[in-house]
């Protein structure tokens, strides 16, 4: 590979990372090369209404997740409770967000590793059916966010207390049809990804996710749980792990008792598989046929593909809720006051936290964000070391390729991690 600065980053991941392998010691090193963006500082002194708009721009892939977390944090600070129809629309939007992100990751970033193409655009000629599925699935997620939120990248309509404007019921009905049409394609996607031959890897891992009454609830959870017995109220979430700074690296690293842990689709499908919607449950039991945890992080791709089915079914259900709800008001009044709040949701890559402190005049005093990738990085390093140890007999460029594939399987978002 050429040494030019025009191509020295790991490709097909969100953000800039460089990978260096020490074949002698069997250690992999991922360095982050991204400028500090200081989002937590950018919003300080600004009006609280600016926070959802600004923090959405942390990430072009998951802006809706940041926006909704931020809105939830502010509503928590002001003690606002929004109505069920608002919650249903937000839940549908969050489903759309995760579907668009997973479809991007599965087809555009990951599938070239297993389909022997240079990029997903090549599929258009070489495997047109798969290309069509990629586009349709991605579009179904994009449409949810665009129709409800106003735009698929950086939505415009969601705000504190509800929505600035909402689509007509007819538009929502046709959106629901779009999602129903996408379901069989999501099933084919799960078949495709469950059928790939993933590199072998097994390393026991602690998986974390947020839940409500023991079930997955991406928007509205009350506890954080893990497969090693963690079960803590959501407001104590940030105490469940430690964030450390490494000099020269613009990202922080999350760990629990000195070890890595994992959040995201694989964690959610490990801890929440008992209550999947019917088609997703079918895909899990009949198509995939293995039981999570398999302790192989490459299977995150399979977990994402099953989760997409679950979220399509969930979005359809939430849209049905909105359509039958007689309440046509999508914005509730609230009073600005001094206070602190937090908002936790399940973002595409795992549990996302926004915390805020607001002055009595509505200006932001403190803002704090913990992203999923920050929580996954140490686990990724531990997995990469285990992979190098297990496959040390491979030729060096093959091993390098496998470690790169592992990094991609995690779907890291360095952009988010830096914020």
């Amino acid at each position: 590979m050429s040494q030019s600065v025009l191509n020295h980053y790991i490709c097909k991941i969100e953000g800039h990372g460089k990978l260096k392998l020490d074949y002698k010691s069997g250690k992999a090193k991922l360095t982050i090369d991204e400028g500090e963006r200081l989002f937590e500082r950018l919003v300080v002194g600004r009006d609280f209404l600016d926070a959802p708009f600004i923090t959405a721009r942390i990430c072009g892939v998951c802006p809706t997740a940041h926006m909704l977390s931020s809105i939830k944090a502010i509503e928590n600070a002001f003690d606002v409770s929004v109505t069920p129809n608002i919650i249903a629309l937000r839940k549908a939007m969050l489903c759309g967000q995760i579907i668009q992100s997973h479809a991007l990751h599965l087809y555009f970033l990951t599938s070239p590793d297993y389909l022997d193409v240079v990029n997903a655009i090549e599929l258009h000629e070489k495997m047109p059916h798969i290309f069509k599925n990629a586009i349709t699935l991605k579009k179904s997620g994009d449409m949810v966010v665009e129709v409800i939120g106003g735009r698929s990248v950086h939505p415009t309509a969601p705000t504190v207390g509800g929505f600035l404007s909402v689509p007509t019921k007819d538009t929502l009905r046709s959106l629901k049809k779009t999602l129903e049409y996408a379901l069989p394609i999501a099933m084919e996607t799960a078949e495709l990804f469950a059928g790939f031959k993933y590199p072998s890897l097994k390393r026991e891992t602690e998986y974390l996710t947020s839940v409500k009454n023991g079930r997955l609830d991406y928007y509205d959870s009350d506890h954080i749980v893990s497969n090693r017995g963690l079960n803590t109220a959501i407001e104590n979430y940030t105490y469940a792990f430690t964030e450390t700074v490494r000099n020269g690296s613009p990202v922080k690293y999350g760990s629990r008792d000195g070890h890595g842990f994992m959040v995201g689709a694989l964690a959610r499908m490990t801890l929440g598989s008992e209550h999947l919607h019917p088609k997703a449950a079918y895909a899990y039991h009949k198509i995939w046929q293995h039981k999570f945890p398999t302790y192989n992080s490459f299977h995150n791709n399979v977990a994402q593909s099953i989760e997409v089915i679950h979220l399509l079914e969930e979005a359809i259900e939430q849209l049905a809720n909105v359509l039958t709800d007689k309440n046509d008001v999508f914005r509730v009044p609230y009073r600005v006051k001094e206070g602190q709040g937090y908002g936790v949701i399940e973002a595409p890559r795992g549990t996302l936290y926004h915390g805020i402190e607001i002055n009595e005049n509505g200006s932001i005093k403190i803002y704090d964000i913990v992203t999923p990738t920050v929580q996954n990085l140490i686990n990724l390093e531990e997995d990469a070391d285990a992979l190098m140890k297990k496959h040390q007999k491979l030729e060096s460029d093959k091993l390098y390729n496998e470690v790169e594939m592992l990094i991609r399987a995690y779907d890291p978002c360095i952009t988010c991690a830096v914020h």
Partner: protein, 247 residues
């Protein structure tokens, strides 16, 4: 021979590149008409140039960002600034230099040493041929720019404000309703996507050439006070010197 396209991303959110992927079927048409020779985010191709068309997204912040910008310019016929971060500096550049330095200490601690410089637009380091602002870029504008560049023609700039597009969509005027909407002084091309859903214009396309900036500033300072007006104005085009020039 098909023209070669490269897409580089610097420090940013990658949302504008995503809008390229979101062109979906159109993207495969482009791939038929041009050779996508270097695109880290979506491909494994590692061409070092020369390129006919180079999109650069994000603002140069790190040493390697700045290096990428300079090298890409040296091997490209047309450089396009893809999105507000590249074109204007973007949200991340809205802090003044001293605030930025203080922010680094606050977020990462006193001992942390950064290798970065305060975010600037591309034009601070290199000459930009085609400006494509937006947070994110508008898909229709993006595909029009792509179409004309593939036939090696330089695209036209929008010469009207957001208000024109907003009126065409028959929206209520948020500015008249008392909001700090930047529509009257902001370059069009976004199809008024924010005001159409009830969100004030934040000015992500940058200031329109020939807009009556001083009159607008006077108006919103009177309405909201100097401090808040300043917050509205310096969201996407932070560069203090630029802002002061225009004021």
């Amino acid at each position: 021979m098909k023209p070669k396209i490269a897409i580089f991303d610097l420090t940013d959110c990658e949302g504008c590149e995503l809008e390229l992927i979101n062109l979906r079927e159109k993207l495969s048409v482009i791939a038929g008409e041009a050779d996508i020779a270097n695109w880290r985010f979506a491909s494994d191709s590692h061409d070092n140039g020369p390129f006919e068309i180079t999109f650069i997204e994000g603002s140069p912040i790190t040493e390697s960002d700045i290096e990428v910008v300079k090298q890409a310019r040296a091997v490209s016929r047309y450089v396009v600034s893809l999105g507000s971060c590249a074109d204007l500096g973007g949200l991340q550049s809205s802090l003044k230099k001293n605030e930025w330095e203080k922010g680094i200490k606050e977020v990462y601690g006193d001992k942390y040493q950064t290798k970065s410089k305060p975010p600037k637009p591309l034009s601070y380091y290199i000459e930009v041929d085609v400006h494509l602002p937006g947070c994110p870029v508008n898909q229709n504008e993006l595909s029009q720019v792509l179409a004309s560049l593939i036939s090696l023609k330089k695209p036209e700039k929008a010469t009207y404000p957001v208000c024109l597009e907003c009126k065409a969509r028959e929206n209520n005027c948020l500015f008249l309703e008392g909001e700090g909407c930047l529509g009257p002084i902001t370059k069009g091309g976004c199809e008024a996507v924010c005001p159409s859903r009830g969100l004030r214009c934040w000015g992500c396309f940058g200031i329109l050439e020939g807009a009556n900036y001083p009159a607008y500033v006077k108006n919103i300072e009177k309405k909201f006070g100097k401090e808040k007006a300043n917050m509205f104005l310096r969201s996407f085009f932070s560069q203090e010197e630029e802002y002061e020039d225009k004021g």
